[in-house]
Amino acid sequence: MLVGHFVVGILVFTLSYVAIISEKLNRMIVAVFGATLMILFHVISQEDALAKIDFNTLGLLIGMMIIVNIIKTTGLFQYLAILTAKIAKGNPKLILIYFAIITAVSSALLDNVTTILLIVPVTLVISDTLKINPLPFIIAEIMSANIFGAATLIGSPPSIMIGGATGYSFGDFIMNMLPIMTVIIIVTISLILFIFRKAFTVAEKDKKEILSFDENKAITNSGLLKKSLFVLFLTIFGFTIAELLDVQSATIALFGASLLLIISKAEPDEILERVEWTTIFFFGGLFVLVGSLESIGFISLLSQKLLSVTNGSIAITALLVLWMSAVLSSFLDNIPYVATMIPLVKSMAESTGGDYEPVWWALTMGACLGGNGTIIGASANVVSRGIMEKNGHTITFIGYLKIAFPLMIVSIILSTIYLLLFYL
């Protein structure tokens, strides 16, 4: 390894990372450009670069995006939102709780951004009808999406990446993350209800208008809905038995996606057009960027430094990773952060030979929950703000921070207690 390659590698990585974080340029373009520079400057060969790309993660993302893009067309979310609003009899506190549950469950099974894109417009219509400020609902939904995104293997990009790197199964995530995320979401929603307790006054006539909605009208294609739900649950079941079948999650997801394309007779061009290819290419570029750092030995150097700070203690490492991930993920995009942390934690685990399971769960929790800290902390937050602003509602950085950052800290405290009680 030439010193020149080492320096160039670090320089390209740093500049790419800064450009991604600054958001001055599209992050996908930066990641791909940075990746190609790594190859051009021979920091990494093209062969090795392609080997660094986790195609399981990409396949899983593409497969789930296809399934979600078909489900989206059925009106399922509108149906659920109207039904639960009616069950709540227009009571805004109950609506907030029910919508948070819908968001959480969806986010655990679909991806966070898609869940937000589906639930926020419906929430705006409901809050518009009730003539109340949508902000408490949107904040609850953002937080629920990020919290339960950590609960399953497929719930969020950090979970997908960590699952891919560690081999932890769908069942492993359920056993280790679902319980604590359930506690965290209950506490978080309760606190949101308390913080906004004065914001839930609704006139009786507006509640009655909600009751006049017909949820059945929201379903655009009941046949397609049934097929979509069948395939979705089959795919989820496939994730739980993936280890038994000796296949990886991407195979399960792409099987589900192709099966649904066949039985739904959906137009493949239209469905594939809506796959977020910029996200896929972003991941690809990122894997090469981080993989290049690995190949020049920077990651193992960094891991040795960290081990010397923590004295190799898994407990200290886990807690450090949890809190560092939470704070950094609040302000930085958690996907490149997790992409960089994965080889680092792997390297530390290989060096010590210890059981680094607590550290992996700490990284999952920190990266996902940290995203709740600021309005830029996660893609779901940014998208929510975008939709709100298009509808004339402003969420300022400070306004969100004052409410969300303390709630995020509470969730990390709960995560710390969880780690200490069960893993350390």
Partner: protein, 162 residues
């Protein structure tokens, strides 16, 4: 950008469906076309192509024409081509400004009539009077077409009675 467009659509369609509408959202491409016939005379159109291979065309300047559905892009291009040729001829007339004004006045009259009908309970005598006046205008148009020199032969008129 497109994800925000989709979310806007979801909100509108949800409200419209709850109002009782049947709504179909079709992915399509919208195309704006404009021609500067002279420095101060522009003819512009908007047309929409969707995956059902249906094309919707509307002229928006100098005055709107009805939205029509066509089966092929050739139809759209031909309609626009003929329309532009006709306007290039028409713009040479010393009556062009009156022509545009009259069309705009017709358009405004239709809107006013619509308001009248939708906001008020119109007595039959006014309905008869308005009908009579429209017939009178049609008679003038028919008579004028017989007494005026024809200047465009690219296609036959589609709405003039013989």
């Amino acid at each position: 950008m497109s994800k925000y467009v989709h979310t806007e659509t979801k909100q509108h369609t949800m409200k419209l469906v709850q109002m009782g509408a049947k709504v179909e959202v079709i992915s399509s491409q919208m195309v704006y076309v404009s021609f500067d016939i002279t420095e101060d005379f522009t003819v512009s159109y908007v047309y929409n192509i969707n995956r059902h291979n249906k094309y919707f065309l509307e002229r928006i300047e100098p005055y709107p024409i009805d939205l029509e559905e066509f089966d092929s892009t050739d139809d759209i291009v031909n309609i626009i081509k003929i329309d532009v040729e006709q306007f290039k001829t028409a713009v040479k007339s010393h009556n062009i400004k009156d022509f545009v004004k009259i069309n705009q006045d017709f358009h405004n009259t239709i809107l006013a009539f619509e308001d009248l009908f939708l906001y008020y309970n119109l007595p039959t005598k006014y309905v008869s009077k308005i009908k009579g006046n429209i017939e009178a205008i049609n008679d003038i148009i028919k008579k004028a077409s017989h007494e005026s020199k024809r200047v465009y032969f690219g296609k036959e008129p589609g709405h003039l009675e013989e």
